[in-house]
């Protein structure tokens, strides 16, 4: 027996057919589109361009968009593998050498698919590692994941343009039972991984989702993303909350904060990693607090933490969030005083915001001009 490189006709699995590739491709396209659009939204929520205001309602908006981002990415993993197995024989097509136009077109299509696959695998792999808070790389995740997202989206649009007629012919064709069996395996695998991770966001699936990074536990009913010890927090004995505005500064003790009118709101912590958890928060409305010291209540507010270093030691409450009646400087969660890991003495909790911007261990609020 002589070994030689395989040819497309050597592959005899029923998976290798346009009727299969087109169907899986369609759903993979849906998953990538959801993932790309929700990714853009998340980026805009965390790094808002000047013209953009992230809405404060519904309160679970970021929870919904970011769960959709992570789950569509997880769903795309089995779909991408099934799609690639379906078209794998095409890797072994011998490229045409003439006429030169055909050779060039073939090379350009291969290059576009290589770009698409580099970008697609990169987004799924880096996204999954980042979601489980593992960072085995030297590039900056946010910048790179965002840039490659545009490359993946563009290369997918090119691919759809190139394959439009092949794909519509494939969709028009009814797959035979053997091909339908392959498709069923692809859908089942996709359902299985979604179910195994959906508990990150859906509380009643938490016990079923064996691969969820958020577990049902956590102190005071909530997971902890960064402990007080990791952030190097030591609350000084003479801790005061500083409130500054153009024209004045005030300092409030914890008992003065407790003496202000308390409100309770049920709001989710929704993290960029795709996990979320709802809790009942009690504290002072930010607008009430600002009004009590005589600061303006209609502006954006910069929130600073006792945490000295790190990307999220400060956050900016846009005016839409700062003026929202549900935005609290929370002192209690689920009926108990905030534990050190949840932000004692006080933390910001606002509706519809990425979790990293819900600053803990707050020491200063600054009303901006």
């Amino acid at each position: 027996m002589r070994l030689r490189p395989p040819r497309p006709e050597d592959f005899r699995s029923p998976a290798h057919a346009p009727a299969v590739s087109a169907r899986i491709g369609l759903w993979l396209g849906v998953a990538f589109t959801v993932c790309f659009l929700t990714g853009l939204l998340s980026h805009a929520a965390q790094h808002p361009p000047g013209w953009f205001t992230w809405p404060t309602r519904p309160v679970s908006l970021y929870r919904i968009t970011q769960s959709a981002h992570v789950l569509s990415g997880v769903a795309a993993i089995p779909l991408l593998l099934a799609k690639l197995w379906s078209v794998y024989p095409r890797l072994f097509i011998r490229p045409p050498l003439r006429p030169p136009a055909a050779a060039l077109a073939h090379a350009a299509e291969r290059l576009s698919i290589l770009v698409l696959l580099c970008a697609a695998f990169f987004e799924l792999a880096s996204g999954l590692f980042n979601a489980v808070q593992s960072y085995p790389w030297r590039f900056f995740f946010v910048e790179t994941h965002y840039a490659v997202g545009w490359i993946a989206a563009g290369a997918l649009v090119v691919h759809i343009g190139v394959k439009l007629s092949t794909a519509s012919a494939g969709l028009a064709e009814r797959p035979d039972p053997r091909r339908r069996a392959f498709l069923r395996i692809a859908w089942l695998s996709t359902g299985a991984v979604v179910l195994a991770t959906a508990g990150n966001a859906v509380p009643w699936l938490s016990r079923v989702s064996v691969l969820a990074w958020r577990s049902p536990g956590g102190p005071q009913g909530l997971p902890v993303n960064r402990t007080a010890a990791a952030a190097g927090i030591r609350v000084p004995a003479d801790w005061r909350l500083a409130v500054a505005w153009p024209g004045g500064t005030a300092h409030l003790t914890l008992s003065q904060l407790t003496a202000l009118r308390q409100h309770t709101a049920t709001l989710p912590i929704a993290c960029v990693e795709g996990w979320s958890a709802s809790a009942s928060w009690t504290g002072v409305r930010v607008t009430d607090l600002l009004a009590a010291v005589g600061a303006p209540t209609d502006r954006a507010v910069r929130v600073s933490s006792l945490e000295r270093s790190g990307l999220y030691a400060t956050s900016l409450l846009p005016s839409a969030h700062a003026t929202d009646p549900l935005t609290l400087l929370a002192l209690r969660v689920n009926g108990q005083t905030l534990s050190p890991d949840h932000g004692y003495p006080c933390r910001i909790i606002a509706p519809s915001r990425p979790g990293v911007l819900q600053t803990k261990w707050v020491t200063r609020l600054e009303v901006l001009v």
Partner: protein
């Protein structure tokens, strides 16, 4: 049709160009991660799937039974693959209460056992439902083969 396709190709190329421009400063650190996916897939994953398909074809001649086994293998493999970052976690953030503190090995074992139990039950119930009919009266699904 031709104009639509040309429009898609050109606008897609423009988006790729924009992404490439954003990516440029990170490229020296990211290129290995970018190339690893297609290479690992084409050289390791896809050949492994092909060899598994060929082996299944030899080991399980009955196409209906083969399809069930292929489904179990595919679902188990995909679950384990998605579980790799959770089990491995190189250069991780610390494990905190409520995050990454499950027993993932036990969870995966339970999930894989549940999948195979489900497949066994489905196969047996299907056979019981079709018992009494003459063989070949139903079109059995078939497994992928290389």
């Amino acid at each position: 049709m031709k104009a639509v396709r040309a429009g898609l190709v050109l606008s897609g190329a423009a988006l790729v160009g924009y992404g490439g421009w954003l990516l440029w400063p990170q490229l020296p650190a990211a290129w290995t991660w970018l190339l690893a996916g297609p290479i690992l897939h084409d050289v390791v994953v896809a050949p492994a799937v092909g060899i598994a398909g060929l082996a299944l074809g030899r080991l399980i001649p009955d196409p209906a039974r083969r399809a069930w086994v292929a489904a179990g293998l595919a679902i188990s493999a995909v679950l384990i693959l998605v579980g790799v970052p959770l089990l491995w976690r190189p250069q991780p953030a610390p494990i905190n209460p409520g995050l990454h503190d499950r027993d993932y090995v036990r969870g995966l074992i339970v999930a894989v056992l549940a999948i195979w139990a489900g497949i066994f039950v489905s196969k047996v119930s299907r056979r019981l439902r079709h018992a009494g009919r003459p063989p070949g009266s139903t079109a059995p699904p078939t497994a992928p083969e290389a």
